[in-house]
Point group: C2
Chain length 399, copies 2
């Protein structure tokens, strides 16, 4: 009999607390586990012995937690050293003090690095503490797993919002180029979700991904041709689009000065490209950055995503009893109707690797293929019923 510690790490999402709810629910039921500790602010809570007991959360509170965006326990972006320094000693101290036999770490790439290092450390000193990773990232860029919890909800928000922006920008007769900037510095998975409303005729006209070198002249030609045809052009871009030399469009100040525009530009890629379209093509423009709501819109989550996130948390606890250095993967079943099953994979094969968006799913550098729609549509399906208080969703906050 031992205790379990759970931590959340990396950027918040709308589904990370569903995984936490899954961990707590299953840990409370498991006869091998006595106390469920939550680490405040990712690994920092373990380093500073800043833990909270989670057993007292009621079923009602856990149902609210499941639907609450953010990261209930707080998060961190702290990487452990490659050599076993005093931080590892501090961690061991906290683990020993609280008799922690199992650790579940919910997070993305950097967090899986922590799981990899921690599990290797405990094995190296033969200390009996199992460490399991639970995937989480709106970027959807973890390898081995079919997709990541958090992606479906962010994708649903992006898809719906793009369709609504399409309706909004269609209302005036006069022309305009609207450029919408979507999260995902290195992987275009979320940007590609802007394609999903095309099934109801409300997708963007052009989509630019970070996986393809961005060419300004080609972009301007694309926009110009569409503007001359339709007058209203809706463009979706990844925040991370960059040219063949790796220069981000979000930091065009030097390039644009060299181009003779004379602007010192702050702000994102969409704002910069709007300025350039205005200067070069003379068209009205509007930049929209979807910003934080993409990853925290608890009011617009995918039921598939929330359910899967919870299942991953539950599975991690069951797995932690007899496994360490593992990572919970979602494997898509080979059936007509969408379904997944969960498997454990070696954490060392996951950490520090990135799953790029398949280049063969990008068409002409400015569109997304049907293969992606088939892949992603099931992940954004289903709606979650929320509890509302005076018109606002009721979320659970840590006390």
């Amino acid at each position: 009999m031992g205790n379990l510690l759970v931590a959340q790490s990396g950027g918040p999402t709308a589904a990370i607390n569903a995984s936490l709810a899954g961990v707590i629910t299953m840990a409370k039921q498991n006869i091998n586990i006595e106390i469920v500790y939550g680490s405040r602010y990712g690994i920092n809570g373990v380093l500073n012995d800043n833990l909270v007991v989670l057993n007292e959360l009621t079923d009602y509170e856990l149902s609210l937690l499941e639907k609450t965006p953010g990261a209930y326990l707080g998060s961190a972006r702290h990487l452990l050293s490659k050599v076993y320094d005093e931080e590892y000693e501090k961690i061991l101290e906290t683990v020993k003090k609280h008799n922690i036999s199992y650790i579940c770490f919910i997070g993305g790439n950097d967090s899986m690095d922590t799981v990899s290092k921690l599990s290797a450390y405990f094995e190296s000193i033969s200390y009996p503490c199992n460490v399991i990773g639970v995937p989480k990232t709106v970027d959807n860029d973890l390898v081995l797993t079919d997709h990541c919890p958090g992606f479906g909800s962010a994708g649903k928000y992006v898809a719906s919002t793009l369709s609504e922006i399409k309706l909004d920008t269609a209302v005036y007769e006069k022309g305009r180029v609207t450029i919408v900037e979507i999260m995902g510095r290195d992987a275009g998975w979320l940007t590609a979700c802007s394609k999903l409303p095309s099934i109801i005729g409300l997708g963007p006209d052009l989509i630019y991904m970070p996986e393809v070198a961005f060419d300004l002249d080609t972009f301007l030609n694309d926009v110009d041709a569409l503007y001359k045809k339709n007058k209203k052009v809706l463009v979706a871009i990844s925040e991370g689009i960059r040219d063949k030399d790796g220069n981000y469009m979000m930091a065009l100040s030097t390039a644009s000065k060299a181009d003779g525009f004379g602007h010192t530009q702050l702000g994102g890629a969409a704002a910069n490209l709007c300025e350039i379209v205005k200067e070069r093509l003379g068209y009205n423009t509007r930049a929209v950055e979807l910003s934080l709501p993409q990853r925290c819109a608890g009011h617009m989550v995918s039921k598939t995503d929330i359910d899967e996130a919870k299942r991953c948390g539950e599975f991690a606890v069951m797995s932690a009893i007899d496994n360490t250095a593992k990572f919970v993967c979602m494997i898509r079943d080979d059936s007509k109707k969408y379904s997944i099953h969960l498997e454990l994979k070696n954490i060392h094969e996951v950490a520090n690797k990135v799953k790029p968006f398949p280049k063969e799913w990008i068409i002409n550098g400015n569109d997304i293929s049907e293969e992606f729609i088939n892949y992603a549509a099931p992940l954004i399906e289903g709606e979650v019923e929320l509890e509302y208080k005076l018109g606002v969703p009721n979320y659970l906050r840590i006390k």
Copy 2:
């Protein structure tokens, strides 16, 4: 027996199509009305004889239309002249050609000006065409009516999103000042809605309205004091905040240069204030502009708002049979439980007037009083069930 023409005007909202659905539904039932025409792109459709027949919309399509954001017929921002020029002649031509006896104009301030002028024109030439205005604006700044259709849904989106951003920005231990920019150049009604999630402990820490002269030093002191206490500071600002001399914070380039910051700044008030906080106080910042989704988030509308918007459209048609130069007003009943009834008011008393946010509801220049919560909370209540297609709301587009 005559025909009815309906037009939409001004900025799109999530509720303007509910009013249109109300107009069409009621006009189809009314024995005085034969054909229901829609004017494409506001008054422009009347000027250019660009009308569509709306009678064929099925009940199913009307139910989709009711929940579709944007402006189904298209919109315009075109003001008629004060003198009866050739545009009035063109309008009369279209009206005569299509035997139009009733016009319903759904829109905000400028649109009510059009209703005022058009109805006066028809009266001046003794032409039997009744013109009725239906309120619409997320800005909530029309006089005489308790509130405007569109405001409740935009307010619900702002309130929910603010609460989610609050959760998102709370996850890290390190400090940050997050500034969220909300629509409403001259009226702070929508910005004030950021206060609503305070009832679940998720409101912003500071709120700045365009009705109070913005003082940069006071703002920096407010932020600094809170940062030293909590490290995480969430600020909601109206896009229209300006100093005592009327200088908008969204165009601080000259001021900031004079202040020695040396930046040429594009972008909105939030981005500019973030730069200043970083420079003067040295804190991490993040600017979030809620942008278009505020007025077009059909996935997060208020049921109260959508129902009322539809009622206003229906009432306009019933009123148009025997009235002209009127405007549909929502009057709040003096009862414990929230309810409204509809009344007609003189359009000439509405046009070109603005209802400011009550100054007595603004506390210390950076907070909103409970009176506003009592006023606005009922307007954002209730959720609308949408039809989804592969995870995305299904909306109706004009063919």
